[in-house]
Amino acid sequence: MSALLRYAVMKSMRDHLLAGLLLAPLVLASAPMLGMAVGSMFRGEPVYPFHVPDSSPQGTSDTFGVVAMIVSALVAGIGAFWIFRSEIASRAVHFFFLAHPPRAVSAASAIYGFVVGILAYSISRTAVTLMTGSPQPHAARDVAVAAVAIWIGSALGSLLVAISSEAAILVIAYAVVIVTTVQLLQSVTVVRMGIAILFAAALLQAAAIVLRRRCAS
């Protein structure tokens, strides 16, 4: 497993996938605020902390914190999908299977997506906090929801690449991640979180089965 993760990290560092994934939530969550801040500066009214019109810095921080969370979960899905995509499409993944079972490959892609998603969320959420000058009032709750959403995104990316290597299939990840994250945020309960974690585990199990069947035909 560690070799697969090392392979994933080295590969994605060299082809710049990792940098793109880590920075995507930061760019998407902070670009609107930066845009408005630059506009204010040109008007000769520089403001800090940043905030969007008709919203307080705290409100802006909450809104863009959710954006960072959703985009990070998507990034986790894209990372898990993309990291072994070419190997699966070209059947070069067979080389991994000779040393490890398919479930190890699925798990490695999901873990890679999860770690990348968590790092991306940490970077983007910190940036939002700094820009708005507003710390998260429910930081622990937000981190827990983000971790579960990112885990679902990763497991889903792992399953989708086992089904098809066509990038268009990621649309499913977008839909599922957005719906799941919003559902989790609406009411954060242990039961909901538990169900979400089990859902992700089921996705991961399905990914291993589909990958084995796909590559054995």
Binding site: A3, L4, Y7, R14
Partner: protein, 311 residues
């Protein structure tokens, strides 16, 4: 330990309505180089993938290194090195990094990995590629890298699918040297190839497959002997137009102005009878000799005969 490295018995594999393998049975002896010969689509790659545990047969049994590929795939995988016919390499990594990762994947201890990587590089004469990224490589270089990866965990059995494909003559010579070296080290090599001249040079045994059926399995010499049973004989004559004696006409396959050719497994006595018959009909015989054929011609002949039998 059994002398048989690979045993396939009555393998059946279907892809939808297409039957790729039917009742396929053969054996590969430990410590030999065995060539797997067949036309495109004959079932070579399917067979190799089943042996490598990457594909499941619909029926039949198969053991590799005394382990059943269906029931003990992980034991089999630890003991084989597999080189597929086409594969992709990660362009972002260097060869040394790539091999090191595979050494780790196979559970080789960190301290032993550099030595294993160096051995694989030396065996495949890829030291010059060690620090190069795996992109923009020639087909020959890719094949060497694939072989290095297949050898990284020091497997007992090598399954190679068209390892000579795309190699220039020099690289083919190097490949043959490597395979001989591996045989000397006690490895079993089972390789498919279209370059039959190469197989003839290095293989101890041959398995010939046609449309999923094994039509020959045995030594290269045995294959030649089987084919020689119907050797084509050429009689050079001093006579102009030849009129073939009626007693011999049934076996003649070609008659020209100064030669006739016929097929058959002729003992020296029968050959003498032929010559007497021809001389008796006023045909001056200069020479009677078997037509030497390459393995390639014999393979084509075997396939043709099989097709005729089926027809």
């Amino acid at each position: 330990m059994s002398e048989r490295a690979i045993v396939a018995e009555n393998l059946l594999k279907r892809y939808g309505s297409v039957t790729a393998l039917r009742d396929t049975s053969f054996e590969v002896t430990r410590g030999t180089i065995t060539g797997f010969v067949g036309r495109n689509g004959a079932g070579k790659t399917t067979t190799l993938k089943i042996l490598a545990t990457l594909l499941r047969a619909d029926d039949g049994t198969c053991t590799v290194a005394n382990y059943d590929v269906r029931n003990a795939p992980y034991e089999v995988r630890r003991r084989i090195g597999f080189l597929p016919d086409v594969f992709e390499l990660p362009s972002a990594l260097t060869l040394r990094e790539y091999l090191d990762i595979f050494a780790e994947l196979y559970g080789i201890h960190r301290a032993d990995r550099p030595k294993r990587v160096n051995t694989a590089l030396q065996l495949t004469r890829s030291e010059d590629l060690a620090s190069r990224r795996l992109h923009a490589l020639s087909r020959g270089e890719q094949q060497r890298i694939g072989l290095a990866r297949a050898l990284i965990h020091n497997p007992d059995i090598l399954l190679l699918d068209e390892p000579a494909a795309g190699l220039d003559p020099h690289a083919r010579v190097e490949l043959k040297e490597l395979l001989r070296l591996l045989r000397e080290r006690g490895k079993t090599v089972f390789l498919s190839s279209h370059v039959l001249a190469d197989l003839e040079e290095i293989c101890d045994d041959l398995v010939v497959i046609r449309n999923g059926n094994i039509i020959f399995s045995g030594s290269v010499a045995g294959f030649r002997l089987q084919m020689r049973a119907k050797t084509r004989w050429r009689v050079s004559t001093v006579t102009g137009q030849i009129s073939v004696p009626p007693a011999l006409s049934g076996q003649v396959v070609a008659a020209g102005p100064s030669s006739i050719e016929f097929e058959g497994d002729l003992s020296p006595l029968e050959r003498a009878r032929w010559i007497s018959e021809l001389v008796a009909h006023g045909i001056g015989v200069c020479e009677m000799s078997p037509q030497m054929t390459t393995l390639e011609q014999e393979f084509a002949k075997a396939i043709e005969e099989e097709e005729e039998e089926i027809a």
